[in-house]
């Protein structure tokens, strides 16, 4: 546990300590062969750990191929606002240097000259620590070498995001960085072609970036061997809900869910039985006790009809109402909808009303039918992922716990 990103040598806000320990070597190697960075990342099979699981090397390659117009941007996405997810804040607060070094290597790989740290405003300690860490990097000799290699000044900006959930979506983040309200944009154009102020823009999750210096330092093969089974690398799982010891645990990618809960989470609170696990935060679907053996990597969780997402695992024990939990999450989405797309604005509001009605025992069978119908109609009709996420969690709860919905209906 905690072998790489949360290893004691990776922690701390003092740059010289980081450079004398795990740090620095990755950037030095990158500087000695900038053209080889992307192929190493590709060989390591580093994925987007903010939920997409998209190969990072592909994203980097797209941006590297674009010419600066007049700049190129890297947004380090620490907006993190999903229920049950708290890994990025943990990394930024306790181990900011590996994230910054990762961003610098990424900038070198894709020839980027503007880096933006985009951090949830409620995480004030993260913001403070990243600011302290960035100041130290800017006076470091490695930073000068990097600028020389890029042949242009490199700027790092640390900004608080708007604090809206949708602000974490790629195009919404771009709007936010431009100083606007985080309304998601339609695609295309894709950010890699035209992002912040029309410049090619790369957006990576904090945990993804944190892995980069370690891969460069120790090699792709080392990274591949970290994973369990066919998976590569490690994953930070955010364990919460009805377990004895919730928290962040860095484990080999592909660790079985049961091991996470029993070995690391100390088992269930009050020794209750497990009823369900909301994976990947709220915008994913539900795993039930028969999936308890699932290896936690992108492919295996997908095979069970769910998705790994951000690696958040919200464990729910017997005695907790699923309808109530889902209602809470959907209320969250209704609250977070930016209101730009009518199906999302009215859809999330309406389904949250329906769910509240069902949850408080006021609903009829007709209301439940409406809910089921909406689950078929609404997905895919918003610009961003918000509406789909909301519908996915409802759909999944209807699949597994339809009886609970029915028993809440008015006789």
């Amino acid at each position: 546990m905690n072998n790489v990103l949360l290893h004691p040598d990776s922690l701390g806000t003092n740059l010289s300590e980081w450079l004398s320990g795990n740090g620095g070597t990755g950037l030095e190697k990158a500087l000695s062969d900038p053209a080889g960075i992307i192929s190493i990342i590709k060989e390591a099979d580093l994925r987007g750990l903010g939920g997409s699981g998209f190969p990072s090397s592909k994203k980097w390659q797209f941006v590297a191929e674009q010419s600066a117009n007049p700049d190129k941007y890297l947004i380090c996405n620490g907006n993190e606002d999903e229920p049950g997810t708290f890994k990025d804040a943990h990394l930024l607060t306790h181990a900011p240097h590996q994230v910054i070094e990762g961003a610098l290597i990424t900038a070198l790989a894709s020839q980027i000259n503007k880096i933006v740290f985009y951090i949830n405003p409620e995480q004030t300690t993260s913001l403070d620590n990243v600011r302290i860490a960035v100041e130290q990097w800017e006076t470091c000799s490695l930073f000068e070498q990097l600028q020389a290699q890029l042949e242009t000044p490199l700027s790092i900006r640390v900004m608080a995001s708007s604090g809206h959930y949708i602000g974490g979506e790629e195009t919404a983040a771009i709007e936010s960085v431009e100083g606007n309200f985080p309304f998601p944009r339609g695609k295309p154009p894709f950010p890699a072609v035209s992002g912040v102020h029309g410049c090619p823009t790369l957006i990576n999750n904090i945990e993804t970036l944190a892995n980069v210096p370690h891969i460069l330092k120790n090699g792709a093969q080392w990274f591949r061997e970290l994973g369990a089974g066919s998976s590569t690398g490690t994953k930070i799982y955010c364990l919460s809900g009805d377990v004895l010891k919730p928290g962040v645990y860095e484990l080999p990618m592909g660790t079985p869910l049961s091991e996470l809960i029993d070995t690391y989470g100390g088992g269930m609170l009050l020794d209750k039985k497990i009823k369900a696990v909301f994976t990947g935060g709220a915008s994913s679907s539900i795993l039930t006790p028969r999936d308890i053996d699932v290896p936690l990597n992108f492919e295996s969780v997908k095979e069970r009809g769910s998705s790994l997402g951000t690696g958040a695992m919200i464990v729910v024990s017997e005695g907790t109402g699923i309808v109530k939990r889902v209602t809470e999450y959907v209320n969250f989405y209704a609250h977070s909808s930016c209101g730009q797309c009518p199906p999302c604005k009215t859809g999330t509001f309406y389904i949250s009303q329906l769910l509240n009605k069902i949850d408080t025992g006021q609903a009829s069978e007709y209301d439940l039918e409406s809910l089921i119908n909406l689950c078929k109609i609404l997905p895919g009709s918003g610009r961003c992922h918000l509406l789909d996420g909301a519908m996915q969690v409802i759909d999944s709860s209807l699949t597994h716990f339809i009886d609970e919905y029915k028993s809440s209906l008015r006789p």
Binding site: P83, E122, Y165, S240, G241, D242, L244, K245, P246, L269, L270, G319, T320, G321, V323, K324, E328, Y329, N331, F332, H335, S336, N356, D359, T360, G361, S408
Partner: protein, 560 residues
């Protein structure tokens, strides 16, 4: 002086009464006590807060490692009454400001919040005004006399609190004194006046000036009368018989409302609020160390428990005030308070040998410790067959002497006391009353700032549930001032501070944290808190509350 004692050295009620009358009729009367006692030693030896064998160390929560009374630890470290399953089907009501508690502090806060334009719900365990406020008899402090200053008020308060109070809080309190009285008068409250219509003032134990304004000997009742009317005439939505059983938290751990157990409908309701003001009062009804208490039936420390679970820090948990003059005989009135106004008007306290043993105007903890000392060292009255009680003990409060020195004063100034005497079949102008210290006030409580904010965002605590204003001992008249002054401040800033966007999520996740801590420390999970009612009420909240529509048809408290 001849002294009546039993063979075994104890002094019975009748013997002590004989000693009293003998001494009263003697030429010297009751000379002042010799005042050369070491007060710190007296407190250390006899004050209940200093008895280490009744203390324990807290194992969980923000005050882990602090010492406090075992009974307090029991409620702070008990399991919640609520499980997530209880909330399935519980109605959600939204509001801007939720005030929990229908005493003076709660009403003042609710009135100010409503006046600032917020939607306000006030929930109370019993009925609006049914609280400790109505029991305050002595009066309310404010430095309004010529020659008196807020600075002297500050000095007296700080000194009486053994220099451990939060100076910023006292500063706010004393500066707000005159304005608080003005506001109360505007609300319609009456005070005793002289012939020119000026406020009458008197001295209290531990004060350096005449600073207590009052209305007869039921100042608190008069205060509650006007506050209740003001609340009824405002837009505040009052929920009677609705104790809070848990606070709600949002995604960042801030306070986001409360779960209410509606005793009338026998179901749970969730109130989602932008800010919550807890004004639930003290914890006297747990009867620390089996002391009788002057406290109201509802004083079971609910707010203390709720705030602690959400992560609010508490202070001075080992410090309580024992009012020196609680009724000790007859026993069915045990714990009933006799106003300190009596001592400030010049009544003596006399032991079973017919001697004064303490300066009656010393602060409450000193006088209380001195009375306990007299009883423990065999100079107090103990129960006998004539009184019908064997565990009764106490000393005399010399009402006949006071009446003799100021004819008519009892009838004019202390009508409620005369009534109390009549209930006990005692003519207090002729016969002294037997008194013993009674558990009166929780000095400590939730740590707050000068606007009543606790350490948890969105959570305010005002009144007895909060700590820091009185340090480790409270002066008479400062509690009434505190509840109005801080209640009003909290009401205003709760509206100012409220989050405009509201909470994304409301949960009871903090309860899981409590359970985790309890499990990891191997502590028993059998006890439940908040208590809501004293144990002898035998009210079974679980049995009488459900989240669904199915009412059990029986409600132990409200007869429905």
């Amino acid at each position: 002086m001849s002294q009546n004692r039993d063979l075994n050295g104890t002094i019975s009620y009748q013997q002590a009464l004989g000693n009293y009358h003998l001494q009263k009729q003697s030429l010297e009367g009751f000379p002042a006590a010799e005042l050369s006692m070491d007060e710190q030693q007296l407190l250390k030896d006899f004050h209940p807060d200093h008895r280490q064998e009744t203390m324990t160390t807290l194992q969980v929560g923000p005050n882990k490692g602090d010492r406090c009374h075992k009974q307090i630890a029991d409620v702070l470290q008990a399991d919640s009454r609520i499980d997530a399953a209880d909330l399935a089907g519980a109605r959600i009501q939204e509001t801007d400001v939720l005030v929990i508690g229908g005493g003076g502090a709660g009403c003042a806060a609710a009135l100010m919040a409503a006046e600032s334009g917020a939607r306000v719900i006030l929930t109370t365990k019993l009925k609006l005004g049914d609280s400790n406020t109505v029991m305050a008899e002595g009066g309310i402090q404010a430095s309004i006399e010529k020659g008196d200053t807020p600075q002297s008020h500050f000095n007296d308060t700080f000194k009486a609190g053994h220099k451990s109070a939060d100076k910023e809080l006292i500063k706010k309190l004393v500066m707000d004194g005159p304005e608080t009285i003005r506001w109360l008068i505007q609300q319609g409250m009456q005070f005793d006046l002289n012939e020119f219509g000026d406020l009458l003032t008197r001295k209290a134990g531990g004060t350096s000036a005449n600073r207590v304004v009052y209305f007869r000997d039921y100042t608190g009742l008069e205060m509650m009368r006007v506050l209740r009317e003001s609340v009824k005439n405002s837009d505040v939505d009052v929920w009677d018989y609705s104790p809070a059983v848990e606070l709600l938290s949002n995604e960042s751990g801030h306070c986001a409302g409360a779960i209410i157990s509606s005793l009338q409908d026998c179901r749970y309701v969730q109130i989602k609020a932008k800010t919550v003001i807890v004004a639930t009062g003290g914890i006297g009804r747990v009867h620390l160390n089996q002391f009788p208490t002057s406290n109201h039936f509802g004083a079971t420390g609910d707010g203390l428990v709720l705030a602690y679970r959400l992560g609010a820090r508490l202070r001075d948990l080992d410090s309580f005030q024992y009012h020196p003059t609680g009724v000790a005989y007859p026993q069915h009135l045990s714990g009933t308070l006799i106003t300190e106004g009596l001592r400030s008007s010049g009544a003596y306290i006399i032991n079973a040998l017919g001697e004064r043993f303490v300066n009656e105007l010393k602060p409450r903890d000193i006088v209380a410790a001195a009375i306990i000392r007299e009883c423990e060292e065999g100079r107090g009255v103990v129960g006998d067959s004539a009184s019908g009680s064997s565990d009764m003990r106490g000393v005399w409060l010399d009402t006949p002497g006071l009446e003799a020195r100021n004819p008519g004063i009892l009838k004019k100034r202390f009508p409620k006391l005369i009534q109390l005497g009549l209930k006990s079949k005692i003519d207090i102008t002729q016969t002294p009353m037997l008194i013993y210290p009674t558990l009166h006030y929780q000095n400590g409580g939730v740590v707050i700032d000068e606007n009543g904010r606790s350490g948890i965002e969105g959570l305010y605590c005002v009144g007895e549930v909060s700590g820091g204003i009185h340090g480790r001992n409270r002066l008479m008249g400062n509690a009434l001032l505190e509840i109005i002054s801080f209640g009003r401040k909290a009401g205003v800033s709760a509206v100012k501070d409220r989050k405009t966007r509201g909470h994304k999520q409301i949960t009871i996740d903090h309860i899981s944290n409590l359970r985790r801590e309890l499990m990891q420390k191997n502590m028993p999970m059998s006890g439940k808190s908040p208590l809501l009612f004293p144990q002898y009420a035998q009210y079974d909240a679980e049995k009488n509350t459900t989240a669904s529509n199915e009412s059990s048809g029986f409600c132990g408290v409200c007869d429905q």
